[in-house]
């Protein structure tokens, strides 16, 4: 995404040009739905949420600070909206910054003996389907980070900016998410 173009579109939207905001919507609707759709499993709910993110973004556009990327700001709004949704549904939303039991759990362990070869177990298309299903079983905070990293292609720095967390914490959680996904797939 071109950062300067985004900032220009924001400026034009604030100047009263609705078409500029529509261009922002068209630019970010796909990546946003790719993320939201994997955080709330129901498609219609995901579409509603994605719309709500854009509406909320428009309403608070005057608070956008140009020194930050528009995309990360948009994902921050989306993340907060989703967290509110989980809280209302009383789904556990443990914080990324809170320790997950043993901080090194899964990260420094030795490679298990006789680890089943996932590559040979599933064809690629089937593996993708299994990954989608396994994502739904992951804790929400780890799922979010994993989707941002591998579906949206966000960098560690971007994720750290969105969640206002240290880089090291984000890296730890990425590794935990990946290893958890591997274990979930082994169980299928």
């Amino acid at each position: 995404m071109n950062e300067e173009q985004d900032k220009d579109l924001v400026k034009r939207t604030l100047g009263g040009e609705r078409k500029a905001f529509e261009m922002l919507v068209r630019r970010y609707q796909q990546p946003l739905l790719n993320y939201v759709g994997r955080m709330v499993a129901e498609r219609e709910l995901a579409l509603d949420f994605t719309q709500d993110v854009f509406i909320k973004t428009y309403a608070s556009l005057h608070t956008y600070e140009p020194q930050f990327k528009f995309g990360t700001w948009l994902f921050k709004i989306a993340s907060n909206l989703i967290i509110d949704h989980w809280r209302k549904k009383k789904i556990p939303t443990f914080s990324l910054s809170a320790p997950l039991g043993d901080e090194d759990d899964g990260l420094t362990l030795d490679i298990p003996d006789n680890e089943p070869p996932l590559a040979r177990k599933f064809e690629l298309a089937e593996l993708r389907q299994k990954i989608e299903a396994a994502l739904e079983k992951m804790p929400t905070a780890l799922r979010e980070i994993f989707v941002w990293r591998h579906v949206n292609g966000l960098s560690y720095e971007e994720m750290a900016e969105i969640k206002s967390l240290p880089l090291g914490t984000i890296k730890n959680r990425i590794f935990q998410a990946k290893e958890m996904l591997h274990r979930l797939l082994e169980e299928t």
């Binding site: 604030l14 100047g15 009263g16 609705r18 905001f21 529509e22 919507v25 068209r26 609707q29 796909q30 739905l33 790719n34 759709g37 994997r38 498609r43 995901a46 579409l47 994605t50 719309q51 854009f54 509406i55 428009y58 005057h62 090194d104 899964g106 990260l107 420094t108 362990l109 030795d110 490679i111 003996d113 680890e115 070869p117 996932l118 590559a119 690629l124 593996l127 993708r128 990954i131 989608e132 994993f146 591998h150 579906v151 292609g153 890296k171 990425i174 590794f175 990946k178 290893e179 996904l181 591997h182 797939l185």
Partner: protein, 189 residues
Amino acid sequence: MTCLKLRDIHEYLEGDFPPEKRKDFEGHLRLCAKCRQAVEERRILTEAASSLPPLEVPADFAKRVMSRIPAAKSGLPAWLVGLAGGLASLAGILTFFFLSGRNLAASLSDLDNSLWQLAKNATVFVGKSAALLSQAGKIISSFLQVSAKGLSILTTLVSPGTQAALIALTLALGLTLFVALKKKIRWGE
């Protein structure tokens, strides 16, 4: 031979290793089948996750979003227009008494038997202010255009409470200036 740790594998696949560490890591992989398999498993998993298909966005999604966004405000908010109209009427009355040199309180007390007198004063007022207004009209028109544009932007950028505070401050400054001018200029005679 000490096998690799899972964390090392993930860091290697993320490309976080400095060149020297990467070289040592790959050296171990050449010698250890177990670690090679572990790395390969996680590489395939990462590649599969990074190639998940995009979720379908409906063709009219952007239109649906824009239909929920209120239309851009053309002109000023209604409350601001009403306030401006009231202030303009008040300014007109005060200017009349200012130019005619009459005291407002005295005029009000004479109102019941001075309609004719009022008409005469109004004629004096119109005559004296016609020249003034023809010049001021051009200046005021430009000022209002700029103000309207500025206020339109203001209403989108600033909260209603802050808007009201700014307008109240402007009014106070205007009234202070008016009173100061009246003391300096005598236009009644």
